[in-house]
Symmetry: C2
Subunit: 193 residues, 2 copies
Amino acid sequence: MAQKGEGTVDEHVDARVVRTRNDVLSAAITVLVDEGWEALTHPRVAKVAGYSKATLYTHWPTRLDLVRDAFVHFGQMPHHVPTGDLRADLTGELTSFRSAMVENRLDRAMTVLVELAATVPELADARDRFVADGERVMRAVLAPHLDGDALEAATVLLCGAVVHTSMLHRRPITDGVIDAAVDIVLRGLPPAR
Amino acid sequence: MAQKGEGTVDEHVDARVVRTRNDVLSAAITVLVDEGWEALTHPRVAKVAGYSKATLYTHWPTRLDLVRDAFVHFGQMPHHVPTGDLRADLTGELTSFRSAMVENRLDRAMTVLVELAATVPELADARDRFVADGERVMRAVLAPHLDGDALEAATVLLCGAVVHTSMLHRRPITDGVIDAAVDIVLRGLPPAR
């Protein structure tokens, strides 16, 4: 983990630490997505990020530290900002999710993380947190209208539609299919509680 | 590809060829799922299957031939047999899909194939066929009730719910969530055409 300032360090140093973290973790994700887990070494990431190996080892003593923080960093991707209009919020969040798949190559990062976590048990927590962060907005949008198994079902139906299309069909879900999926789920909501 | 008999070969030989194919392709899937793509070599699969390397090279000259046929073989997994009762058919197919994830380790095979096909372009067709085979029964059950984007949406919502839960939550979807998902989609079907 990065050694953050503790109040005695001035803001200039803090800002520099934050920038270093962002640069290195973005580079780590790029290496992981483009070149795979085997390529994710301190020397390779240092080279791609343009920092010294010593800097990387100071902030992240092990590869696991580096990959864990990289996925936390990646998990902080943009989401739709809910407006209170359920249809607009579901459509907006599915569209944001699709953008992350296409522009941030979330599909690739997700595949790598799932595959990695299956063989490196220490990464299971990172995967679970990454998935929970990804679903958070969708659950928050649905929660006023559903609970229990119905809330879980609506979440995995909608998130699953984007995941399934991106990972298995290997093309982004279209606007027409997003609209049709939202129509089905809106009509299918249980009677108001 | 296996050299199948062409009418002049007696049934005994045919049956033996079929058995050899099944044994070898099942072993190939086991190796792929347990040990990964790197382990999928003719010597390793021959050893696991209990056949000679020469037999494997005769039937599958290259690793790509072997992995392609293995996924076709794996894709012929059991599906729900539709009864005409839409609720029972959706629930039955989702339950079959979940069983394949758990018992046949479909989640693992799918992750490996997606990851492989992203880096080995020659496997893209195998992946697409595998996915299409997996969705065929679901599409057939839904097709009398939906078309166009709505049919696509219902297919990726329902298949996606199982894929998302198995691959990202790393636990099988529960009966309660399957029932709630089917409830949402049944209520959400567009008005009869």
